[in-house]
Symmetry: C2
Subunit: 339 residues, 2 copies
Amino acid sequence: MNKRIMRPRYNAFTVARATLSRLHHRRILTAPNPSEGFDFICYMASKAKSINKALNDAVPLGTNPLVLKIREAMRFSLLSNGKRVRPVLCLAACELVGGHESTAMAAACAVEMIHASSLIQDDLPCMDDECLRRGKPTNHKIFGEDVAILTADAFISLAVTHTVAATSENVPPARVLRAVTEMMKAVGTDGLVAGQAADLEGERMRLEENNMGLEHLEFTHVHKTAALLEAAAVMGGILGGGCDEEIERLRSYARCVGLMFQVVDDVLDVTKSSKELGKTTGRDLIAGKLTYPRVMGVEKSREYAEKLNREAWEHLRGFDQDKVAPLLSLADYIVSRQN
Amino acid sequence: MNKRIMRPRYNAFTVARATLSRLHHRRILTAPNPSEGFDFICYMASKAKSINKALNDAVPLGTNPLVLKIREAMRFSLLSNGKRVRPVLCLAACELVGGHESTAMAAACAVEMIHASSLIQDDLPCMDDECLRRGKPTNHKIFGEDVAILTADAFISLAVTHTVAATSENVPPARVLRAVTEMMKAVGTDGLVAGQAADLEGERMRLEENNMGLEHLEFTHVHKTAALLEAAAVMGGILGGGCDEEIERLRSYARCVGLMFQVVDDVLDVTKSSKELGKTTGRDLIAGKLTYPRVMGVEKSREYAEKLNREAWEHLRGFDQDKVAPLLSLADYIVSRQN
């Protein structure tokens, strides 16, 4: 095997190159690097292709004119050019515990639906009032607020029914039920709802840069971002047939990755342009919103992201090296992403 | 046993007394009446009491200040003085197939949560823009639109996790999964979302009183109202351990009751005052909204409701007379309700 080292941080990497290089170096010195020689770009592209096809099949336009607009709005948000981080995480977790991609594909699509649902809601005028998302107008700008809100509901419903329908033949009902419960926990007051509520509350309070601020920020992001990434990984582990210990290690890994994801997001918001990200940037700063760069500065935020990445790797130590490579590379990809 | 005949149509009944009396008479002449001698008022009050307690326990305020507002908003909408028709239906269906009340109580609470969620959304400014519900200000009027939208999500999530948590010890996972799937189908594009989308579309189109209008109206109400009542009954049947045939008969019964519920709702909107209903009335008429009285007139609408009631009864023919009495009386109660 002569796979090239293609981890994304060696491609589009500009910002934290030096720090990450040190981190990479440290890893190589202390332990063999399981993601070494793994072609992550190729892996990610191949998974994204399968996921996009599955998402397209999961939401047909149908023939009923009375729900056509909802279906169009669902397809508009779901089939836009997202990074598919959550579904890839789900599939990679499933494969890590010995499951086949097809076993977790419905769940992978489901978490992307939940993600799409939460983005539609976050963008509403009464929430973050965004008009740009992934380089296109936001859902409510095109379909209207009423349709956007119903579309968000439709996604939550479909996420459950789609997962159940697609797994019922191959996965024991107890496992499907456990997976669905994980997903729905990530939606409510233990997940996205709590995160968005805390986010809105934080904006209202315009907290100062102190410890209370950091606690609030951590709560917001653990719930707003990490919870669904956690559900994605855990669902993959459950449906793939993982044992409890494997599932819990996937959970710990995903929590780190999820928080890291948001720290990086906050950094990108102050260091990148709207064009580069495909969404309005700098708004957090203008709104005086609590973010990691605001609380601890850009450089310390990057260091924190790297620390979380190391912890994420640590949680997966001891798994089969070939099987763990995608998840480790995914963590690297998230910490070094540029959009 | 000397139970008094206390069906509600003999109490608060004023509008369609003559017609319903004929219907009742016809039943008595053709077959023994299983709801005869059943004290429905007492039954409903007792069930509502258990349900209200269970609902109160299902949504504790909790200690986290960052989600406190969401919890308050959930409790505000969930614990208001609703009629609890859906949860009673769920419990009665469970008991009909031989299950105990406690087996289906979580599901009964869950359908009420879904109902509360849909009411919160329907009332939003971008939907029906209501400021009054059950005699109190609507959720968004008190907590703001952002919190109201998150509260609606939180209910959908909790409906699933609560049902799973409360049934996992006593009900086989395959049945719990089936029940949860029924509930989530009732939320999405096969249920509430489709109904509300069609309702909004109908308002936009301001259809004339023709056959196309009636078809549209039927689609709207089957999805907006009947789907969740159907899920309530079917969930009760599934969790109570019913066989497929029993569950399907419960489904057919509930579809009739659900559509009938909405026909009666439309009639009440034009014949009752806001004070009597605890919500703004006459708005459908003013908005030129498609309703049964508008399409077929008040009298024909009442006749249609009675026809649906007869059909509902028919679907439950052959069940044990004592066990079926609550569901038959519930149908009678809905057709004759005054608020």
